[in-house]
C-alpha cells in the first residue's frame, strides 16, 4: 500500500472552491484531463454510492464510486472501480480547509492504493503531479480573483 499526498493553496474562499469541486459529476468543468462525465443509473451526483463514469482526453475510461461527501468538513472520498492505471484498492480523499489569513483555501488530495512495486514511483508521480497537482493548477486559474 502506498500513499500519495498533494496539497496546495488556492487564492479563493473555501466555500467558492467547494462549490466547484463538490459536484462529483463536474470533473470536465475544472480538470484539464476529463473530456466528459456522467453518473450511472441517473443517480444524483451527491448521493453516497453513486458511480461517475468519465472519459479522459487521452481516451481511457474510469469508473469511481462516491464513498463520503461532507459539506460540513469540505471533504469527499471515492474509490476506483475500473481504470487503465493498473491500481488496486484505490481510495482517494479531497479536502479543503479555510486559511483565515487572506481568506484563501488549503487544498489537500491524497490517495492510497496497491500496485506492483516497480510501478510505485511512476504511479506516485503520475497521480500526485499529473492528476492532483494539475487539477489544483487549473482550479487556481479558474478561481483567480
Amino acid at each position: 500500500m502506498i500513499k500519495v499526498y498533494t496539497s496546495s493553496v488556492i487564492d479563493a474562499p473555501a466555500d467558492r472552491v467547494w462549490a466547484r469541486v463538490r459536484d462529483f459529476n463536474g470533473l470536465p468543468q475544472w480538470t484539464p484531463f476529463v473530456a466528459e462525465s456522467r453518473i450511472e443509473e441517473n443517480w444524483p451526483a451527491d448521493r453516497i454510492g453513486c458511480v461517475r463514469n468519465f472519459r479522459l482526453r487521452d481516451g481511457g475510461t474510469i469508473r469511481e464510486r462516491l464513498l463520503t461527501l461532507s459539506d460540513f468538513d469540505y471533504e469527499c472520498s471515492y474509490s476506483i472501480l475500473e481504470s487503465p492505471m493498473g491500481v488496486e484498492n484505490y481510495v482517494a480523499t479531497l479536502k479543503l480547509t479555510p486559511v483565515t489569513d487572506g481568506n484563501r483555501t488549503f487544498a489537500e488530495w491524497w490517495a492510497e492504493f496497491d500496485c506492483p512495486a516497480e510501478r510505485e514511483r511512476a504511479l506516485a508521480e503520475q497521480i500526485g503531479q499529473g492528476v492532483f497537482q494539475a487539477a489544483f493548477d487549473s482550479l487556481k486559474k479558474a478561481l483567480a480573483r
Binding site: Y5, T97, T100, F106, F136
Partner: protein, 479 residues
Amino acid sequence: MIRVRRSVVIDAPIERVWAVLRDFNSHSAWHPAVGPSEIENGEPSDQIGCVRSFTLKDGNHIREQLLALSDRDHISTYCILDATLPMRNYVATVRLKRVTDGDRTFWHWESTFDVPRGREREFDQLVGGGVYEAGFAALAEYLRRDGRADSRSTASRSTAPVESRGVVARSFGGPDVLQARRLDSPAPGSGEVRLRQTAIGVNYIDVYIRSGLYRMIEPPAAIGMEAAGVVLESRAPGFNAGDRVAYACTPPGAYVTVRTLPASQLVPLPDDVSDEAAAALMLKGMTAEYLLHRLHRVKPGDTVLVHAAAGGVGLLLCQWARALGARVIGTVSTEAKAALARANGCEHPIVTRGNTFAEQTRRLSAGRGADVIYDGLGRDAAQENLGALAMRGHWVSYGQATGPLEPLSLGAKSGTFSQPVLFHYTADHLHQMAGRVFAALRDGILRPDVRHRYPLAAAADAHRDLEARRTSGQIVLLP
C-alpha cells in the same frame, strides 16, 4: 464555550516550522506578546505534561500544560492551568500540514474556552488576533531572520560600555557618603539586557546598605534595589529594544541612569502601569504580596498589626489587608501620619513615639491581640510586640529600623516567628508576584502614593528625609 480558529500559510518547509513550534518553551523567542517563559521543574520542553510559566507583555501571567505532541502528525495540544485572565477550560491545538505545492507549511491554530458572558467578541479578538495572528506574522519573520532570536537587537548592538551616571556610597556611613559619579554600563552578555532607567525606587533597605548594617556592597559602589526603565539592548529571548520593564533585585546598584542586568530579574510592564508606579511598587508591592499572601495568608476577620503604617510598605499593607477583610491596626509617629494611614485602610492608627502599643492593640481586638504582626521596627519594640501578639499569633520581622532583635521566647503565646527575605520569594515566584501586584493596582486595591520625587543626584537628601521620618508614602529618584 467559544471557538477560535486561525490559519496561515508560512513560506518555509514544515520541518523548519515544526522545529520551532514543537519546543513548548520557544514562544518567548519569537512571539511578540510573550515575555519571559520557563518550563517548571527543569523538565524538557517536549515532556508530555510539562508546564510552561510565562508573562505576557501586557503583564498577565499564564501557566500552560503540554497535553499532546506528535512529531508524526505535527500536532501540539495544550491547556491553560492558571491565568490572570478570565479564561476557563482553554484547550488549544497547533497543527501543521505540508503544502507540497511550493514546499510551504499550512498552520492551523484552534482553541475552545469559556469567558464571562458578553466578552466573547473581545476574547475572540484577543486570542485570535493578539495571540494567533500576531504569532503567525512573528514566526514568519523569525524564520526569515534564520531563527536568530536576538538579531533585531544585533543590528544596533554595540560591545562598548554606555555612559551612565550613578550615586555610590563612597564608604559606609550617613547620607553624606552618597556621591554622584560616572559609572559606565557594560554591554549585555548572553541572557542580559541593558536598560535606560526612568524611575528608581527608594527603600529603607537602601539606608541599611549605605550605613553598613547590611553588608551587601563593597564601597565605593552604587546602591538601590528597584527601578523601571526601557530596554536599550537585549541579548535575552522575550525582551526587545523599546520594551518597558521593571525589577527589584539584588545585588544593589539601581541608583544609576543606565543599567545592565540579567533578564531573569525583569518583569514586563503592562501599558496601564506607569514607570513611577512600578519603581514605587516593585519592591514594596511584592513585599506586601508575599507578606499577606504567601508567608501568612491573611483571612477576613484576622487582626493585623502594621508598624510604620504610613510608610512605603506600611500603606500598601494597610490597603491590601483591609481589602482582604482584615481588621487593620497600625502604629505611626504623628497625627498627620495617623490620618494618612486611616485614609488607606488602617482602621485603628496608634500614635506612638516610644513604641508603646501592646495594650491598645489588645483593647482594639477585644483582648485577643494581633493574629499577625508585620514588624519593621526590631529591637526597641520587641517586648511590646510580644505583648501585642495573639495566642498562636505570627510575628513577622521583615525589617529592623531600631536595631537587630535579640533572642527571646515565644512560649508564652505559642507564637510563630518568621524572618523572611523578599528575594528568597522572588527567586521562584517573581512573575506571579509582580502579576498579582499589577492586578491589585488595576483593581484599585493598591494605590501607590508617590509624594516625594528627587533628582537622582540628590539621593542623599532623600535618605536624610527618610531617616528623619519626614516622608510618607513612596519615594522615587528621577534620573
